[in-house]
Each structure stands twice: as C-alpha cells, then as structure tokens.
C-alpha cells in the first residue's frame, strides 16, 4: 500500500497502489493532502463525506474534489480517512486538524482533480492508478 509522485511537467502526477479499493482511495487522498499541506498532519477533528457517482473513477474524483472543498472552506488539514465503498456509494470519515500556517504552508494548492489518464486497474496484487492533480 503506497503512493508516490511521478514526474509530470505541468502538474502533480501520483501513482498509488493498494490491496483493496478502499485503501487505494485512502492512499490517493493522503497523497492529495501531502501535496497541499506537507507531511506534518495530525488528527482530532472529524468530518464525514457521503456521495454516489456513476463509475469508480468518477467516485474517486468526486470524493477528492469534495475533500478539496471541505478542506478549503472549513480550513481543515486531514491526516487520514476511514473509507467504505459499496458499489458506487462512498462514505468517508476524515480525521484532521485546523490549518496551522507554521506546519502546513509547505505545499502547493491543488486546483482540481483531472480525469486525464485516470484509470483504476485491478490485478492479482490489488488495485492501482495514476492520477493528475492540477496545481
């Protein structure tokens, strides 16, 4: 279970892999938070996101877009998420803390989650994807 940033000239491209779809979503979510706010992130404040989408890739893009929205308007930086996926329904319990300029200013604002090249693959080892965050 991991994620890594892979070279992309204009934006941030993430490769993530995990044994389950839920963990894949969780890894991609952590990558998003790390790109935006760096590695020093704690828990303590929770928020719940519930949504439904038309296919698995859209479910992920919608989930991450909703995370961007909640994080920005509530000024919250998340460290982890408990995710349940049932078909095309998702419930995510996010754990985070208020934005702290001293620890969270090292990152880059993500403007949007791109569908370009977004394809969730599944093989005997589990799930994997490449995703582009527009920065």
């Amino acid at each position: 279970m991991s994620f890594e940033e892979i070279p992309h000239t204009a934006d941030v491209k993430i490769h993530a892999s995990a044994p389950t779809l839920e963990e894949l979503f969780s890894e991609t979510f952590k990558a998003l938070m790390q790109v935006m706010y760096g590695t020093s992130r704690h828990g303590g404040t929770t928020r719940v996101i519930r949504l439904e989408s038309t296919d698995t890739e859209s479910l992920l893009a919608d989930f991450l877009s909703e995370v961007l929205f909640v994080s920005e308007v509530e000024g919250l930086v998340f460290s982890g998420a408990g995710i349940r996926i049932n078909g095309l329904f998702l419930v995510a319990e996010l754990d985070g803390e208020p934005f702290d300029p001293a620890r969270h200013s090292g990152g880059t604002e993500v403007k949007g989650i791109s569908y370009s090249g977004l394809d969730i693959l599944h093989d005997a080892n589990g799930y994997m994807l490449d995703i582009i965050f527009d920065v």
């Binding site: 000239t9 961007l68 920005e72 300029p101 090292g106 604002e109 403007k111 569908y115 370009s116």
Partner: protein
C-alpha cells in the same frame, strides 16, 4: 521533431489529420527547432485530440509554450463554430481567467533596488499561499458584484480608477456572466478569497524595464527604459476551480446526451448553444469576472504600499494592461472573407488583437493590444503587442508564458530553495515566499527560457516585442 509531424514553416509544424483517429482538422503549432527538443509526445496527442471536437474551425492551434496539460495542451487555442461547435472546460482549465496585469510607476531602479522593506510590506499586505484568507469582508451581495461586474465592481468600491477598466481585456468584465450557474459551493469558496494571490506559479513582482524593442508602442503603453513596474499574476481561486469541477461533471453527461465522441474525459463538452453549454459559459464568465475583480483589489493594495513607502500618488501608477490566459470567449473573426462569431478557447494562451480591432481603447487602436508575458521567477517578462497576422492566423492569440520543462518532482530533487534565494539575491532579486519548496518548484530552470518563447511569436509575427522587464523583487505563495 517527433515522428509524424510535418514542418510547414520556419517555426510552424503540422499534426496531420489521422495522427489520432477522428481528427476533423489538422493541428498546427509554432516552435523553434531548439525548443522542439522539449516537446512532449503527450502534448502533441492532446493537440490532436482537440482537433476531433465537433465544429472546430481552421486548425487546432498551439503556441510555443505548448506543454502537456489535461484536455487541451497548455498553450492551446481552438475556435469553434457557435452554431455547430462545442464549448469545453478542458479548453479553459481549472483556474478560469488565470491572468496577468502590469502597473507602471514613476519610480526608477535606484529608488527600489535592495529595498527589502518594500518586498516585506507587499508580502505582509497581499495574502499569498495555501490557506491564505483575505482581510476583506466580502458579503454575498459583493460576491455577486464581483461575478457580474468584475474589475468594474472593484473600481466602483474604490479599489481603482475608471481608467483601469479601459486597460483590461473586455473592459474588466465579461457581459455574459450567469451567477445562477455558479454553485453554492463555488460561492462559498469565493467569499473568503477575494483579493488573495494563491500559490503555485502565481506571483507579484516588482520589475524594471530593461530593454525597449519598439519605442512607439512602448510610449503608447506608458513604458520607458529604467522604469519600475509591478506585475500581478493570479486567477479566480477556489471559486473558479469549483466552477470547473462542477461543470465538468454536468458536461460529461451532456457529452453522452448529445452523442459526442471524445478521446479524453477531460474534453467533456456540449454544443455552445445547448443549455449545458450556456450554463458553463455563464458560470465561466462569472469566474473570469471574479478573477478580474481579484487582480483589481490586489493592484489597489500594491498601489497603497508603493504610495506609502515612496510618497507617490495613486494616479501615478496607471495600469498598462490586464490579460486573461485561461478563458473561452465569443468573438467575431474573419473566415473566408466573412465576419463570423466563433467560440475561442485559450488555455494558457493570450489574446493578441491587432491594430484596428474592436475592444481596443482609442489611443491603442493604431498599435494593437498590449500582450503581457510573465517570466518565471528570476527571468525576464515581456510586453508585446497584438498584430493583424494574429487575427488571420491564430484567432488573435499568442503565447502566455515560458512553459514548464522540468517536473516538480525533479525540481525538488535538483534545486534547493535556499540556494535559489541566495543566487537570486546575488543578481539583485529579493524573494519572499511561504515555503522553500514553493521556490524550488518555480525556479528559473524549470521553465523554457522565456526569451526563446517570445522570439518565436515575434518572428512568426503573431505578436511583436515591445519591452523586456527584469525582476527586482518577488512575492509568491
């Protein structure tokens, strides 16, 4: 050059029909041979993908700052028939009306050189970086004003002077804004961010005019050698990002509804005249207006700081011009000798209207529109003017900047933020940013040399060089 691409001119290349399946027209891009080494196959494929969209006119175009984006390549320009064509958020981007403006001042290099207090004060007063909130109290009524009247709203609220509006593309606001198509979520994001710069490649720079190429145009634009200017580069912030996200979703269903085949989900689109297409266009215009208001508010803050520190008058710092880099517009262009309304998408490209074009203020009518091309941190920025050739060849468009050549991952590995700050200081450039990462991310070496990019558009003739400006101080997110 990559295989399958044909040279059709000194700096002009063609991506022939058939490069990807379903192309309706050929792709054309402008690039010098030395810049061609940095061309990514992914960017060319994206240009070819644009050529598959319904109603595309002439060619799918890209400027010499072409690079791999999502949907359209960055540097992409495409015009579509209003009756038979489409509109796509993938041709505008998440940061709607990311753009740039230039203010001139009566100050000279010797007045501001080494003045860290100036850069510190700008850094203190202009909110920058991730999580930055505005000190403005924007009510929902004010937000409507920003979305409907853009820079005009800001001027009416005291953040500028009437003349500023004559020096903005579209007079500082698109008249087609539709605030009902802007979601409550987008509005919620817009309220706390009015007057904030953002992060990434956004910046505010104090610059000096180092070179004049065209004295007549420079005089008309109010620029002279040695003069200090202030450049502001930012966009529509979270409001625009949310509008793009929301409407991509709506347009994805519309793509299916109207039986449009697209090679990339990020090219989701709808007919320009469909309800979905109109809703996106209206929401995009509202976001573009918010960005114009935003740049106007930041200009006001910068003018106040300069005024306080140097004892100069507000009216001594006129706006040279303000241009959008990410936008779709309905414009009239001449096709086969006839005037036709088309929907022009500019994704990382700048409008470059030539002499005699409507929308230009009277005193610039014989010169052409000022085009402002920001450099990367530490490198030169340029002012050019639009040309008649651009009207004939590129729907009145030119490049928007240098264009990245190094990924952020590679930049962070190879460049150290602290060293970059020290090196820039040796050249007399003071940098303030919230993080060293942000500096390494945007360091001069990660972009194509901006002089090579502007030389291509100058030599092709789709805009002509007027002046070169070099940074003296930079604030970044």
């Amino acid at each position: 050059m990559l295989e399958g691409i044909n040279r059709v001119g000194m700096h002009e290349w063609e991506v022939p029909v058939g490069y990807v399946p379903g192309m309706r027209v050929a792709g054309r891009f402008f690039l010098s041979e030395s810049l061609a080494k940095t061309l990514e196959p992914g960017a060319v494929r994206q240009l070819a993908n644009v050529a598959t969209l319904p109603g595309i006119l002439n060619h799918a175009l890209a400027m010499p700052d072409i690079h791999w984006g999502y949907g359209f390549p960055i540097g992409g320009v495409a015009a579509f028939s209003v009756e038979k064509g489409v509109i796509s958020p993938g041709g505008v981007g998440f940061d709607i009306n990311c753009g740039v403006r230039l203010l001139s001042t009566p100050l000279l290099h010797k007045d501001v050189s080494g003045r860290r207090d100036l850069i510190d004060e700008l850094f203190r007063t202009v909110p920058t970086g991730v999580g930055a909130k505005s000190s403005l109290k924007v009510s929902s009524q004010s937000l409507d004003g920003m979305m409907i009247k853009g820079a005009r709203w800001a001027v009416s609220e005291g953040y500028g002077v009437e003349r500023d509006l004559m020096r903005c593309e579209e007079g500082g606001y698109m008249k087609t804004a539709d605030t009902r198509s802007v979601s409550a979520k987008a509005k919620q994001r817009g309220i706390p961010q009015g007057g904030t710069l953002g992060s990434g490649n956004h910046f505010l720079e104090i610059q000096e005019v180092r070179e004049i190429f065209d004295p007549d145009a420079a005089r008309a634009f109010g620029l002279s050698l040695g003069q200090v200017c202030c450049m502001i580069h930012c966009g529509s912030r979270g409001l625009g990002h949310q509008v793009c996200t929301d409407h991509l979703k709506i347009l994805e269903s519309a793509t299916k509804k109207y039986h449009i085949t697209i090679p990339d989900r990020q090219l989701a689109c709808a007919p320009v005249t469909s309800p979905e297409g109109k809703a996106y266009f209206g929401a995009m215009a509202a976001s573009a207006n918010y960005a114009w208001a935003n740049r106007q508010i930041i200009s006001h803050t910068a003018r106040q700081v300069l005024s306080k520190i140097f004892g100069i008058g507000y009216e001594e710092m006129p706006l040279v011009y303000d241009v959008a880099h990410n936008v779709a517009k309905i414009e009239e262009h001449t096709l086969d000798g006839k005037g036709v309304e088309v929907c022009v998408h500019r994704k990382g490209a700048t409008r470059a209207f030539g002499p005699g074009t409507r929308d230009l203020p009277g005193d610039l009518m014989s010169i052409g529109q000022p085009v402002i091309i920001p450099g990367s941190m530490g490198t030169s920025s340029y002012v050019l003017h639009g040309t008649r050739l651009a009207m004939d060849r590129t729907f009145g468009s030119t490049c928007h900047g240098a264009g990245r050549i190094m990924s952020r991952t590679q930049a962070k590995k190879s460049l150290n933020g602290r060293e970059i700050i020290a090196n820039l200081l040796k050249e007399g450039i003071i940098v303030r940013a919230h993080s060293e990462n942000a500096i390494a991310d945007e360091a001069p070496g990660v972009y194509k040399p901006s002089d090579e990019v502007v030389n291509v558009v100058h030599e092709v003739g789709i805009s002509r060089l007027v002046a070169r400006l070099s940074p003296l101080g930079v604030i970044k997110g």
